[in-house]
Symmetry: C2
Subunit: 599 residues, 2 copies
Amino acid sequence: MTTQDARTPENTSDDARPREIGWHKGYLSGSRPDIRVPVRRVHLTNGRDVTLYDTSGPYTDPNIDTDVRRGLAPLRENWIIARGDTEEYAGREVRPEDDGIKHTSPRGGLRNLDAVFPGRPRLPRRGRGGTTAVTQLAYAKRGEITPEMEFVAVREGCTPEHVRDEIAAGRAVLPANVNHPESEPMIIGKNFLVKVNANIGNSAVTSSIEEEVEKMTWATRWGADTVMDLSTGRNIHTTREWVLRNSPVPIGTVPLYQALEKVDGKAEELTWEIYKDTVIEQCEQGVDYMTVHAGVLLRYVPLTARRKTGIVSRGGSIMAAWCLAHHKESFLYTHFEELCEILRAYDVTFSLGDGLRPGSIADANDEAQFAELRTLGELNRLAKSHDVQTMIEGPGHVPMHKIKENVDLQQEICDEAPFYTLGPLTTDIAPAYDHITSGIGAAMIAWWGTAMLCYVTPKEHLGLPDRDDVKTGVITYKIAAHAADLAKGHPGAQEWDDALSDARFEFRWEDQFNLALDPDTARAYHDETLPAEPAKTAHFCSMCGPKFCSMKISKSIMEDYGDSMELTSDEEREAVAGMAEKSKEFAEAGNRVYLPIAD
Amino acid sequence: MTTQDARTPENTSDDARPREIGWHKGYLSGSRPDIRVPVRRVHLTNGRDVTLYDTSGPYTDPNIDTDVRRGLAPLRENWIIARGDTEEYAGREVRPEDDGIKHTSPRGGLRNLDAVFPGRPRLPRRGRGGTTAVTQLAYAKRGEITPEMEFVAVREGCTPEHVRDEIAAGRAVLPANVNHPESEPMIIGKNFLVKVNANIGNSAVTSSIEEEVEKMTWATRWGADTVMDLSTGRNIHTTREWVLRNSPVPIGTVPLYQALEKVDGKAEELTWEIYKDTVIEQCEQGVDYMTVHAGVLLRYVPLTARRKTGIVSRGGSIMAAWCLAHHKESFLYTHFEELCEILRAYDVTFSLGDGLRPGSIADANDEAQFAELRTLGELNRLAKSHDVQTMIEGPGHVPMHKIKENVDLQQEICDEAPFYTLGPLTTDIAPAYDHITSGIGAAMIAWWGTAMLCYVTPKEHLGLPDRDDVKTGVITYKIAAHAADLAKGHPGAQEWDDALSDARFEFRWEDQFNLALDPDTARAYHDETLPAEPAKTAHFCSMCGPKFCSMKISKSIMEDYGDSMELTSDEEREAVAGMAEKSKEFAEAGNRVYLPIAD
């Protein structure tokens, strides 16, 4: 997010197309030729450039020919191989039930990986011997700066050492499964830009593989930093494979959903073996982070009995039912260290799920929620001791005055591990507008320290988001994230606002559109009222019309006073003293408070 | 906002139609038959009622036949007459230039009031002798509880004494021009529900009288508590007359806009006489509150010269230009006490405008802004000393971490006078989504003490809002206001959320829709994914489908534990001890974690 003069070649190594007004894909270079960090380069009409963070992947680079059947190029593959600590291996056999196809399926036959994804047959990779920690955390702890860390440093505008330090301290994660080499490295931590996750996923009720891949590229086009595939219906395995092979951002999942499909939805029939097999299946596909509801302990379940809305996390309710059925702690909790051993061999990041998060204003910050958080704090330490990167999930539905307590407690209990929150929704009364009820809470919780925000779409509580809902959710959450970046004083965050405000004040309409989070809609709204092309350069807008334009009056004032004024109080007094003369000049110039209208 | 059993007749005096599922107009009664406070009565499928605040006026009462050409019934007329402190008088003659019709207009002729509004010829009314204070503040200071105050008390669910005390202390205003008897009394103050204003108004560029009246009724339909008519083009006078005669909510204006039209947009030609004449014109029409930018002092203008976006308030920039042209303090400031004498004879409330509010993140909380605020503090005291009700306008564009300072300073400097803020927008980067950038700031500033929020629509900075934009703006701001009511712990605010969350947990879909801020959109979104009628009673939704429903799992847990559980830690331990037995019961019942699906 650095504003730079177009004439300065610094960091503008190899943009995708020659300079013209508008915005285009560009790349910042690192210390080696294979570190090319994508940016959105906005070329302004005043000859300046504004460089913005870009999550859209190769799809917005006209020089790259993408094809969803082939997948994206494995950007990180050489880096992973070069480290020499991983091995290819045969991997787990893909079975029909991975896609929710029952044993009684008429076709019956085994699917193979080639059938799942025709693009690029590839053996899975893992840490040598199946247990070597190949995580960014392990490298950071050893003091190594990986190409991924350097990529992130260029992307965030900080030093690689800062990236390494934050990862080593557990304050940030860089989700990067060795089997998802297509992903562009990004970092999640409170001392970096606030990130946004978009959930996609089919369900038993609706939607297809194609739709999910389309939603993923669409979400990243508008700024999603990660995508979670929460599919629960048919074709879970295949959908995920297509999403992963085409995703430039880290992909998260909740393996429990698929595991439950494998036992026909009977929670009590879930076993560690089935779950473990599912986790390995997903590790081999390349899932970058996994939500694990290991903090739902047996003794916490009764704490939810008097709640207004009980347990609203799907994973939480499944594990609660399992604990009750078996009257013991869940296999997620009892096998947690074994799970750590698996994840660290692929560099899958834990997202420790808040299975007991509140599902209504009435249930916020209750004992069930905070009891689970304390357990997540213990698990966080355990995971780190196994070199597994870890973030912590948070609520949910929380009224404004109870939000800060959530972050403060999480940061304290979980040693400042990245907090990853869903909203929170600040009121329950607005179904169809929960992107807004939660956007309010999201901005606040991010300001106070949340590292990544899980978006909420207008369809929350009502249905599955379509393409438009995904866009609305992502844009709303980019607003929340950026508002938080500003409030946190992130270096460079305000330059974006300043560039847009400058364009607004100078009536550079095209620049305003191109700098907007959503240029298309901004332009469309303007054209609705003043469709003519000259209006794009007009020195007024449709709100006030030419006569009432405060911007024009202000510009006239600035032209009179801007150069001679200092804003300290001594000089202020002088200025006021000098105003009589100015007033005369103003009158002599015809008392014009409005500038002439262009064309 | 009280939840009550339908069988309790308390306060359900005369609902508009018999009980059936859905929501309908109802009325709460006061101590006398002519105090009938409108409410929105939601009838739930479980036999309970939820009573919500209602701003929609007689338009939603099927027993009342409304006609925009006739206007609304003068609800408060008898109360005003009964006080015996007002008089009818001939009033100012309506002139062509009041509607922006130039002296060179081809038709030329004078318009009379009848031509302006055919509905109900009526002489204007004012305090006896033209100077008697007939303000709710004057009555409150004298210890009188007016019918307007009692109406408000019923509406807010508090005592009339509380209403009187807050008005007398200047912490609340009850805008109620004696010439707008059609309005339903409402109150603006931090110790009441947070209110929302919607701006409408034509401009030189677009829109008609009919459209503005339609936008006003549409805005109040969705919850606008007041409406500001900010028209700047032709037919200002006539548009305002039609809006007032048909408005059930207080109407605000910025008289300066019309005054400037009368001098052909030449700010330096404005005079106190022209302005005063315009104010009286609007007082006689019934405008309930007026934005007056009297705090823009000559010496503050240079403080804006180095700003990124100068002066963005139209009124502020006009007055700044005037001050510069004449090199003296504005007539608004020098004639302020005379203005007080006028307003108090009609009970018009001051909305002291923040002409120097920031128009970009970069300019927030600067010296220009706070210098003006200090002047508004002085003017606030002056206005109160003349018994004129007063509120104070606030920004604008403010990053989250600078919002609280605005409220705290305003409350301190202005003796807790109601704060009335525009947003604030928490970032500048999202034109077309400024209802959201500002909804975030609005919720926060209201939590911290702002009494009324001026909405922002998606068209802000881009064009004039249409019907859909008005609705989106109002709903967004109702969310912000209600989130603040919750965070402030307003008695009763949470009952609404609880009622909706209960409906959600119990899969009462129709109740969820009817309790929603926007039932139509909530229902439409649900139907988009699961259109069939049986889905309205299904015990699952389209997000997870029947197998993964956490709500169903939770209900099963509650049925097992809900009655026997206490959430104190002692009993918690006992409960955990008792869980082995429960687990056995659970297994014996077939380990069913899902309830049977209805139909």
